[in-house]
Symmetry: C2
Subunit: 454 residues, 2 copies
Amino acid sequence: MKPSIPKGTRDFGPQEMARRNYIFDTIRSVFKTYGFSPIETPSMELLSTLMGKYGEEGDKLLFKVLNSGDYLRGVDKQLVEDDNYVKLTSQISEKGLRYDLTVPFARFVVQHRNELQMPFKRYQIQPVWRADRPQKGRYREFYQCDADVVGSDSLLNEVELLQMIDEVFRRLGVRITIKLNNRKVLAGIAELIGAPELLTDITVAIDKIDKIGLEAVNEELRSRGLSQEAIDRLNPILALNGTIDERLKALRAIMADTPTGLKGVEELAEVVDATRQLGLDAELDLDVSLARGLNYYTGTIIEVKARDVEIGSISGGGRYDNLTGVFGLPGLSGVGISFGADRIYDVLNALDLYPKDTQVTTQVMMVNFGREESLGAMKTMKELRKAGVSCEIYPEAAKMKKQMGRADALGIPYVAMIGSEELAKGVVKLKNMATGEQHELTINQAIEVVKENS
Amino acid sequence: MKPSIPKGTRDFGPQEMARRNYIFDTIRSVFKTYGFSPIETPSMELLSTLMGKYGEEGDKLLFKVLNSGDYLRGVDKQLVEDDNYVKLTSQISEKGLRYDLTVPFARFVVQHRNELQMPFKRYQIQPVWRADRPQKGRYREFYQCDADVVGSDSLLNEVELLQMIDEVFRRLGVRITIKLNNRKVLAGIAELIGAPELLTDITVAIDKIDKIGLEAVNEELRSRGLSQEAIDRLNPILALNGTIDERLKALRAIMADTPTGLKGVEELAEVVDATRQLGLDAELDLDVSLARGLNYYTGTIIEVKARDVEIGSISGGGRYDNLTGVFGLPGLSGVGISFGADRIYDVLNALDLYPKDTQVTTQVMMVNFGREESLGAMKTMKELRKAGVSCEIYPEAAKMKKQMGRADALGIPYVAMIGSEELAKGVVKLKNMATGEQHELTINQAIEVVKENS
């Protein structure tokens, strides 16, 4: 009976941790320099907070936590007879694991509104859980890294968020394309083709254009009740080409009669213009088929693709005008982005983009020559550590070959030897494991050598 | 219907996060310089991994996660009729939330034994969940910070762990007492008083001596079946006094006829001697009543108390000789310590020990004077951020008073103004919010001023 872990979950060993922390630290550092403050919310939320926020499918994918103690007390047993597990769940479970960071954030803002200074800029890096069928690259526990601004309608926030995306991937060395759209453009399109009530259906369908192609999208639109005439009016919009400016110009003409659509185009133009003036490493693109399947977006929609790896979006976000309304605080606009740490990890692995020193091990291992010498070595370690050098001592006075074998296996760059002779002289023999070179050094010299080379 | 969170859980806002991160960063940094590598395990473990590891009470305190989908399928409905919720649980739930970091670590070691280099030194900083009754200072979700070494019997590990405890609290500025005991001494005591089979009862009872006093402990021992003669032989041991060396000497004499007890005394003496030679800020103490209620300790037992605040132990640990045996890998010795982040947080708050700069906000806020000026300000921010200065811009061109009000409320130390005049001259007006002083500076000068003062 070899122990195992729940399917769709993972253990992270030291090397994976070093790589993941490199990604998290990079994102966190950018969030901070852009003036975002960290918050954390509980892993468990009340199901009343979570249910109904992610659609019917989302409700099913929530991990629900069984009430403590005798959860059967007071339960309607007929529900069990009827196999009505959905209704039974509401009687035996009142808590669920967080499904994303957005809904808990909305709940946080409403609950703490009197303590928060608006606009409130927060970031949050925590795991989320989804009872999705596990598959390659899809896990039941994974991290999200979100940054949001609430309480400001200004498009400057969008511009800042785009700068942050650019900066994160510039630091990570990943070449990206940032795709932009605006929900108001989508609404304008629905209006233009005479089917505003079909907005959701239209966005869900055209969101798939990259995956399934124009023909299949048209087929789906037809099955959702769109007339051939409407489809004929939609297709040229989806087929727009040329530079961003040419497409914005064409869109402006197309949207001339729909104020909502026009507003969307103007917002896009403003965000693009300001972003260009500030400069961007990323490629910027306009994609009127971009909807991100998320119905709560009301303005700007952002999606980020890696240019050198075939993989889904690695970051995305947008503006939502009424996120906190569902918790009783209407009229608060928010805009945010989210980085998918797991996919970014896959991208960095595929492109081998980790800095050389990401695999962090102990910098120095002390050889153990016996009780007296090891105490001397530990005194030396105290000085190394004070200087910020990480070190360890082989815990037993084992054969030299065995001790060196550990340093080799772990890739520890330096081995230090303090035998009785070195102890008497107050020096250390420092061996560079890569070159095999070995020198007798004072402790300060040894610290200098180790710090210079790592 | 104001939204809320499950009882016993907490939201952490920006200020609490800054303080908590200060604690976590300090602990993590010490773990690293002592050569420990990070790992992370899933929040959910299989109940087969968790159940039976924490005693009957622990099994009850596990948060259990309802199986996904139709969890009633195949369930024995008679269990519901019989109100047998314990047995029903095993049919509708196969996963639980992690209760501590030790059992998941043992599972990790067994599962990955072929990839690990022994001795394996890992640290782990993650939340754990317990369905305890919430009360002041006790939460249902809280962080543990553990460092363990497995695969080495050497007492050097204990000595290193004590150095780590000393270093963490030295850095945090908390004066502590480290109490030591050894489980073999407790076993020796049980043997001496002729009741080795009562070891567990004896340790559970005498562990309470600080809380309930000697008389009540004797009463409890009596009720657990210990004879008056045995109690009379036990009491002088519990009443040992004098210096550590005097007490070790007395114990050595008392334990002369029990090899196990004597071995415990020798181990204690060795750990104390080596620790003293290396030097320690903490006060060291010997406490033969210390058992920590944890039956899996087999050697050294460590407990840390804050000297200037009345609060339970803030760190502790010990050696366990067969932690992985339950998962099918016998004979692997481990020793570890755990820091209680929540109690340490309470101690630092009580003693006001946070460094001045722990409340991290944006360092500079740019005033927004309108579209053109704000684009200029954002270009300047790009340079500030490149230099590592965190900054933000007020997102709307609101009244000056409102904009300054935000900087005030958030405690942002500098406000920068770039109007059309400054834009033309390529300078920035930098206002120190604490002194009210205001200077016209080049961007590089402004960066220098901000970095010097934070």
